[in-house]
């Protein structure tokens, strides 16, 4: 497992399961320009998924907050993965109103072809209380 840190945001990447690249988002994505740090990271993840013929799983259950610029970066990445025919499954915590609102709307990119699916996981433990630093 590898861990990438972008300010208050940490993304853990787990490639221990064959055919899967799992990303766990933790903390807060509140960078002023998240695309500048996430775009190179996403490019590397896409490259690994394509070369290793892996599907992506992105888990947001432990994410405490994201700003609207992060929303933009995620939307563009979802579109990019679809264009490259990389399979993506997104899991969120439907108990968080802010997550439910965004990911429910993100379903517009689910074309029913299996390339992009979204699921709510309400069984995961809630994220820990965060301390601002």
């Amino acid at each position: 497992m590898t861990r990438s840190v972008f300010g208050d945001l940490t993304i853990e990447v787990d490639d221990s399961v064959a055919g899967i690249l799992r990303l766990d988002w933790r903390g807060k994505s509140n960078h002023r320009q998240p695309d500048t740090v996430l775009a190179p990271f996403f490019a590397d993840i896409t490259s690994r998924a394509v070369s290793g013929q892996r599907a992506l799983e992105m888990h947001f259950e432990q994410l405490e907050f994201f700003n609207s610029s992060t929303i933009t970066a995620i939307i563009q990445y979802v579109k990019d993965l679809r264009d490259r025919k990389v399979k993506l499954t997104v899991t969120f915590d439907g108990r968080h109103r802010w997550q439910k609102i965004f990911f429910d709307a993100l379903c517009i990119f689910d074309k029913g072809d299996g390339l992009f699916t979204i699921q709510s996981n309400t069984l995961a433990p809630p994220p820990p209380s965060s301390a601002s630093k």
Binding site: D8, R32, S69, I71, W98, I101, A105, L106, I108, K133
Partner: protein, 183 residues
Amino acid sequence: MTMSEPRRSTQPPPPAPPVSFHLELPIEPEWQNVDLLRLAILNCLHAVFGDPELSESVGIVTSELLENAIKYGDWGHGGARFLLLSARGSGNSVIVEVASPVRDGSPHVANIAGTIDWIRKFPTARDAYVARMRAIAEQPDGLSRMGLVRIAYEGPCEIEALPESGMMRVRATIPTVGRDSMI
């Protein structure tokens, strides 16, 4: 000082209490202040209303308005060196205002007014939100322009642009009850 997000309760939120408050803070336009104030407002509102979803929504509204003010305010031409955050509330609504200096003729003023007008053209804020998502995916222009659309839907809130001489004031009004029926 550390500040934490309040723990969630499985109990339904109590009815809105008959409260009245007004908080006004001069803030230096430093990026790290955005999250400090999001959490401060979130915790204050949770203490006042006892509704974690309302306080979380107001925190998000506050952070998006502060981000815009810091990004697009005029901080380098001898004007005001502070932005002004105001939060006032009653049993029916919470009003968050952020005022920041802008240069005469700044495109920021027209962009805010244009975005608010654009949101109002849709039957619902959700329709505007989804339309913006589609535009970001299909016609990326390097700009997010998602902040106001997001808070209009997520708040949900009514947004007003109130330009003054050398200042831009943006006001968001969030109802304290019946919010889920509005999204």
